[in-house]
Symmetry: C2
Subunit: 195 residues, 2 copies
DNA sequence: CGCGACGTTGATTTGCCTCAACGATTGTGG
DNA sequence: CCACAATCGTTGAGGCAAATCAACGTCGCG
């Protein structure tokens, strides 16, 4: 059976759980393996799972009307990924999630999350904090995009995602920064020469 | 005394309130008038108020390191405005809020909101939904910025903010779209000739 | 081995910015 | 209530950041 301890550790760090609560989590979260390139969520579907990444790496992205991919977020070990809007409003998602590596997640369905809230209000608070944190990182993402050049965004990426730098291809990084792979290449080139 | 009915109406539409709950709201929300150009929140401060706009119009914006203003959101009658991240994490805000017109708001302080949660858990849900909705609109904002040209963003603005179109100057709209006033002027010019 | 994905480099184009100048409107102090 | 300043929208000329298109070498993988 898959090890749930990364998830229990995560919860316990926020608010310590009782044995009974740990049991609830153990029963309601299901492990699932996604293969590299496999969809976790495809646009048009309703996002029905909260995903906690145990190992591997996922990306959340939008495809614009020219067919270009814009990556909103990468998620690796010990973080969450879902389309919060689609999940809570039970509406069709405009976003896609797929796996950049073989990825193991622990996931809870919408119905089971509602059940979890009813059984134990403590999780109300845990997930409220989780959504607030998602809001904050989304806001950072927006502010960065709005008010920085591609070069500044690249530096910022290297800081926030330094642990992922060598796991993600430059093409993916470019799609995250909102520039072409060619332009990112030129940026890196300029970097290497300067300092 | 200022009329609280727009706020009570807003809550009642989400979840009907009892008389006692309405009384709580009446006691904890305070009216405040902001004059045109007055700050509601200034960067560096902690956002300590949830604001519900009764009349007038506010803007939420960031100033980048070149001194350029980037408007994240306009808020007029019957909507909320605050820096959610700063408010919940009790951290210094990078954002500013000020008034584009004389604006009447009903506001509740952080401490009073916590008190409201304790007195009546129903508001836990109401404000959870409120934050979820804020998340969704922020995500829309990001996707639009990431995946559209200035022209497409302008069209989208005209649709979502059609009621505000003639209340907001073009310079403000340009700062919202992320273009210079000159360029917006050229866009409009091109528009007028085409169809 | 061969094919497709990836990163690089060059030449050209384009979307948007900058700077500057000008009327029209708004606001303000004398 | 007028005069002057400040703000706002428009237009033109020129510039730059980043995209596009195209070509080429290198890998990793089936």
């Amino acid at each position: 059976m898959t090890n749930l301890s990364p998830l229990l550790d995560y919860f316990n760090k926020l608010i310590p759980l009782t044995d009974q609560e740990e049991l609830l989590v153990t029963n309601l979260f299901k492990p699932r393996l996604y293969r590299k390139r496999q969809y976790v969520l495809q646009e048009g579907d309703v996002c029905n799972q909260f995903n906690f990444v145990v190992s591997g790496c996922l990306r959340l992205y939008k495809i614009d009307n020219k067919g270009t991919i814009h990556i909103i977020q990468f998620t690796a070990e010990n973080w969450w990924l879902m389309d919060i809007g689609s999940f809570h409003q039970r509406s069709a998602s405009e976003l896609n999630i797929d796996a950049l590596e073989d990825t193991m997640v622990l996931q809870i369905s919408y119905d089971n999350l509602i059940y979890l809230y009813l059984q134990c209000p403590k999780f109300d608070r845990i997930f409220r904090v989780l959504v607030e944190n998602s809001f904050v990182s989304l806001q950072k993402r927006l502010l960065l995009n709005i008010s920085s050049t591609a070069e500044e965004r690249y530096h910022s990426f290297l800081q926030t995602y330094s642990h992922l730098d060598n796991r993600i291809s430059q093409a993916q990084i470019a799609a995250f920064l909102g520039v072409t792979p060619e332009f990112l290449s030129r940026l890196r080139n300029k970097q290497a020469k300067k300092p």
